[in-house]
């Protein structure tokens, strides 16, 4: 197997593995507010996350940026908590600044934190040049993200369907979906943050 394919497989495994629960939760928190008709906004946010984590992954793995692992491991669940809180707090995205598109900006910033987490993992294992492992790993992460987000979209559509059958009103069902999914994510991520606190 080529070096690139090996590390793409590793990156993919790193995202879809249940042990990578923090990254999966973050993607779920991001996806929780989108419906089928919001696909453009969702694409912007996912792209922003990708740009953010790619930047820090490259900087940190090549040694241009040195970040303390305990702080990064703590900040990752904090980004999930903040995202879930924002989901719950914002009742209507149409009346938020830039029609809610500020979300792409904070997602890019949070992507920087998650990228540092991936980088710490890679840097620990390698001594020599790691351009190919870095590129392959990032490629695998992107493919893993696409799979996780696709599954999240199906899950959210099922929840919408169940809630709309019970509540009747689609808007109320959507709000229930956002709050319930975000609350569950918030609960798990809060515990992660407490357990990983560096003090």
């Amino acid at each position: 197997m080529s070096d690139l394919a090996t590390f793409a497989k590793l990156g993919f495994h790193h995202i879809v593995n249940p042990a990578a629960l923090d990254h999966i939760l973050f993607l779920l928190a991001l996806a929780a507010v989108y419906r089928r008709e919001d696909w453009r906004d969702a694409l912007w946010v996912v792209t922003a996350f990708t740009v953010g984590h790619s930047i820090t992954l490259a900087l940190a793995v090549t040694g241009a940026l040195v970040l303390p692992t305990p702080l990064i491991e703590f900040l990752i669940p904090v980004t999930i908590v903040v995202t879930a809180l924002e989901n719950i707090a914002v009742r209507s995205r149409a009346v938020t600044p830039w029609n809610g598109r500020y979300r792409a900006v904070f997602t890019a910033v949070f992507g920087l934190v998650h990228g540092a987490g991936f980088a710490n993992y890679l840097r620990t294992l390698f001594d020599g040049p790691i351009v190919v492992p870095l590129f392959g790993f990032n490629l695998g992460i992107e493919l893993g993200q696409i799979l996780v987000l696709s599954l999240a979209a199906v899950l959210l559509a099922v929840i919408d369907r169940l809630l709309s059958l019970r509540r009747g009103d689609l808007l109320i069902a959507y709000r229930w979906r956002v709050v319930s999914v975000s609350a569950a994510v918030l609960l798990v991520a809060s515990r992660m943050a407490v357990e990983r606190r560096p003090w």
Binding site: M1, S2, D3, A5, T6, F7, K9, L10, H13, H14, N17, P18, A19, A20, L21, T69, Y121, T124, L125, F126, D127, G128, V132, I159, L162, L163, R166, W176, S180, A183, A184, L187, V188, R191, M192
Partner: protein, 147 residues
């Protein structure tokens, strides 16, 4: 739905209780004259599951039982243990094998820690003939040949 949320949260919390970083090791094979230097890097907290104190006298037999090189005719190749050292969060082990004909066609098996962690992934990277090639091992894999 209200009753489903706490159930989901409880399940997720239980999953989190077992949370652990991904289990991975990397073995680099680098030709050095007529021999090949094998450098194995593994996360220290993972390795302590198999060798609690990381001592060389216990690490060596463990590594020999999980990592092996065979020639293209499937005969075992003698591997000499050199050292184990702690470097930050990882244990780094170095071994050496005499391979006058080089790495092409050599069969490798690397099942380090696979008996402890179902998600263990071991990467073997070999640099020879101006290129780097990789093999990936998970639990249950047999020896694989370098091209």
């Amino acid at each position: 739905m209200v009753t489903v949320v706490p159930q989901f949260a409880a399940l997720a919390l239980r999953a989190f209780a077992a949370l652990h970083p991904m289990h991975t090791s990397v073995a680099e094979l680098a030709p050095a004259g007529t021999s090949v230097v094998v450098t194995i890097r593994v996360f220290a907290d993972d390795f302590r599951t198999a060798v609690p104190d990381g001592a060389a006298q216990k690490a060596e037999p463990y590594i020999r039982s999980r990592f092996e090189l065979r020639d293209p005719e499937n005969r075992p190749i003698a591997v000499r243990w050199e050292e184990i050292a702690r470097s930050g969060d990882v244990f780094q082990m170095r071994l050496r094998a005499e391979l006058p004909r080089g790495l092409a066609g050599i069969r490798v098996r690397d099942l380090l820690l696979c008996e402890y962690f179902p998600d263990q992934v071991n990467i073997v990277r070999a640099t020879y003939g101006g290129r780097t090639t990789s093999l990936l091992f998970t639990a249950g894999d047999q020896a694989k040949a370098l091209p």
